[in-house]
């Protein structure tokens, strides 16, 4: 299978779906770039270059640059979705949700319910999340808990190129509003990605490895951190299952619960701020539904309850690392002899 970067996978999903379905349109600030300027058209292809080339192939009626106007263009994407288009809107940094959130949680998310099941709003909002870019407090947040909280929204957080492509294609075909979040440190990560079109379903977790001692659930960039920790734990004789839920809404709780029923121990790694986040969400659901299987406290590995600091030294301390996961596992799984 051909190797591609996460970013290429995202780009490819756009191309395939736009070729397949003329109702798919793309919009956002500089998704093409160079509007009204005298140099190159399609100059940017999105702030991270993931939509580069779309404008050249699909033209201005399907690849729409916007003014700096998140409420208006996210709302326009939502409105267009109710009228037969399937817009993919690029919000750039998910941190910008604060200037357009209403259009998502009060409008897109609620139409179907408020209108008695008569509205269909197939809109995808893509945005970057996560720390590690030295981009400081307003460009490094995760914030997916606040959309996972909202009934009516679906939330997707791919952790690798294969999933990124399949989940984005699914998101575009999905008839509900989808928030699709790309960790900025993943863009350069490579993996095997088929050239053809395929979907990865929502609400189906990916079990990356199975081990009988502890269940580690991780999302987005944290999946790799969990995998690194699992390797480290191997050397300590602790065998970990690593689960990537891939979507937080819907959440594949079943797979997590089944695993915890086997391992008896749960550690969740979540890069979002610790209060009311995905880690607490999963922990709570397991403490309810799989309580009798639990043989130790549920541990959560998250950043501290602080904004994301700028200084690289501090930012590196802020982001959860494999060693934190190992420590957390050790705090719940009883010590074992090596090779056990």
């Amino acid at each position: 299978m051909p190797k591609k970067t996460f970013k290429q996978a995202i780009t490819e999903a756009h191309f395939l779906e736009m070729r397949r379905d003329p109702r798919v349109i793309v919009m956002g600030e500089d998704v093409a770039g160079g509007q009204g300027a005298s140099g190159e058209a399609d100059a940017w292809g999105g702030s991270e270059g993931a939509t580069k080339g779309l404008y050249t192939e699909f033209g201005p009626s399907r690849v729409l640059d916007t003014p700096l106007t998140e409420s208006a263009f996210i709302g326009a994407a939502v409105g267009a979705a109710t009228q037969g288009l399937r817009p993919v809107a690029d919000l750039m940094f998910f941190d910008f949700i604060g200037v357009c959130f209403d259009q998502l949680y009060n409008q897109a998310a609620k139409f179907r319910y408020m209108f008695g099941g008569k509205a269909v709003t197939p809109v995808v909002v893509r945005a970057m999340i996560g720390a590690g870019f030295r981009a400081a407090a307003q460009h490094s947040q995760c914030l997916y808990p606040i959309v996972t909280h909202i009934p009516g929204l679906k939330v997707v957080i791919p952790s690798n190129p294969y999933d990124a492509k399949g989940l984005l294609i699914q998101a575009i075909r999905d008839d509900d509003p989808v928030i699709f979040l790309e960790h900025k440190l993943l863009y350069g990560v490579t993996g095997e990605v088929p050239d053809d079109s395929y979907t990865v379903p929502f609400g189906e977790a990916n079990v990356l490895r199975e081990g009988k001692d502890v269940t580690i659930v991780a999302l987005g960039l944290m999946v790799q951190v969990a995998m690194d920790a699992a390797k480290e734990l191997d050397t300590l004789g602790i065998k970990a299952t690593v689960i990537d839920p891939r979507t937080t809404s819907p959440l594949d709780l079943e797979t997590i619960v089944e695993s915890v029923e086997e391992t008896g121990h749960l550690v969740i790694v979540d890069e979002s701020s610790p209060r009311c986040n995905i880690a607490t969400d999963i922990a709570a659901q397991v403490a309810d539904q799989a309580f009798h299987a639990l043989r130790g406290p549920i541990k959560m590995v998250t950043p501290p309850h602080t904004p994301v600091p700028f200084s690289p030294v501090l930012e590196d301390l802020y982001i959860p690392r494999a060693e934190h996961v190992v420590t957390a596992v050790q705090a719940t799984v009883p010590a074992k002899k090596k090779g056990n």
Binding site: R23, I25, S61, R62, L64, T66, P67, T69, S71, A72, F73, I74, G75, A76, A77, V78, G79, A80, A81, T82, Q83, G84, L85, P87, D102, Q103, N106, Q107, F111, R112, Y113, M114, F115, G116, G117, K118, A119, V120, P151, G152, K154, D174, D175, D176, G203, P250
Partner: protein, 322 residues
């Protein structure tokens, strides 16, 4: 251009439907029959109808918390509306939306909206869909004077202009946002002054005068359908009831509403115009009044007889698939 006799009748019928619908809700609310927040549109009928007479079911409108008038003007089923306001299963939204969220996408009615400024961005999307799909449809956004100060609205004006969308932004300036006077809250005093700031033509019309509204919107809709971009229309108008049902309106000078009713009522004005011009007879109009009275009585009866939703309805309609 001139409206046909049938069109004039339809226009009057709809204005009258709105008036009686709202007067009756006012009464029923006072009687404790209606749950929730209800914002009545009575007094502003010429605006909704003057606008929507130019639209078909393919054209989309977005509305506000004060949405009943826009719904009726856009052709929503009156029984379905009333059932919705009474929270019944047969309501336009299955009773899940209520007064502030009546919608009927099949009629191009994209919803009343409880968020002031919620509609303008959406209408950019509806206009974009029309443009992209080449349907020739237009999208019309109703907003109030209060909503003209909301950032989402102002952004939408700019986006519609930049994208040259087939959109019309109708600002119904009824003098107040809740209890705050529009000449205080709208720094430019006239909302129409904002048209130029967003590169579109603007017009200010007397919103009590159906014909004035109709004429201004005709131009704007033609412009939109011709691919020449959006327009802004400010319709000055008045609301007869409080901001919501229950508002004592002490912020209005005594007699303020009565004076408007006496001097500018849109139904009276319409009647006068069409009868004096010999377009419709008093008998024509009276007949409509009679039909409408019966229709609204029946709507109330049907609403009261409607089915209440059950626990099975609570968790449906959240997602298409989850």
């Amino acid at each position: 251009m001139q409206l046909s006799k049938e069109q004039l009748k339809l226009a009057y019928q709809r204005m009258r439907q709105i008036r009686v619908f709202e007067d009756r809700l006012h009464l029923e609310f006072t009687r404790g029959q209606i749950p929730g927040f209800v914002h009545l549109y009575a007094g502003q009928e010429a605006s909704a109808v003057g606008v929507c007479m130019h639209l078909t079911d393919q054209d989309t409108i977005s509305s506000t918390h004060r949405g009943h008038g826009h719904c009726i003007a856009k052709g929503c089923d009156i029984d379905g509306m009333m059932l919705e306001i009474y929270g019944r299963k047969e309501g336009l939204c299955g009773g899940k939306g209520g007064s502030m969220h009546i919608a009927d996408l099949s009629k191009g009615m994209l919803g009343a909206n409880g968020i002031v400024g919620g509609g303008p961005p959406l209408i950019c999307g509806a206009a974009l869909a029309a443009k992209t799909l080449g349907t020739g449809a237009v999208a019309v956004c109703f907003t109030g004077d209060g909503g003209s100060n909301q950032g989402t609205t102002l952004e939408a004006l700019n986006l519609a202009s930049v994208w040259k969308l087939p959109a019309v932004f109708v600002f119904e300036n009824n003098g107040y946002a809740e209890s705050t006077a529009s000449h205080w809250s709208v720094s430019s005093k006239q909302i129409v002054k904002r048209a130029d700031a967003f590169g579109m033509p603007g017009a200010r019309v007397d919103g009590h005068d159906f014909f004035a509204v109709w004429e201004a919107v005709r131009e704007a809709v033609e412009r939109a359908r011709a691919g020449e971009g959006p327009s802004l229309i400010e319709a000055t108008t008045n609301r007869y009831y409080g901001h919501f049902e229950g508002d004592a309106q002490t912020y209005r000078a005594p007699g303020e509403v009565e004076k408007v009713k006496a001097e500018k009522d849109c139904l009276v004005h319409f009647r006068k115009r069409v009868t004096e011009a010999g377009l419709l007879s008093t008998a024509d109009l009276d007949a409509i009044d009679g039909e409408v009275a019966t229709q609204i009585d029946q709507a109330i009866e049907k609403a009261l007889a409607g089915t209440l939703p059950t626990v099975a309805d609570l968790t449906t309609d959240v997602y298409v698939r989850y």
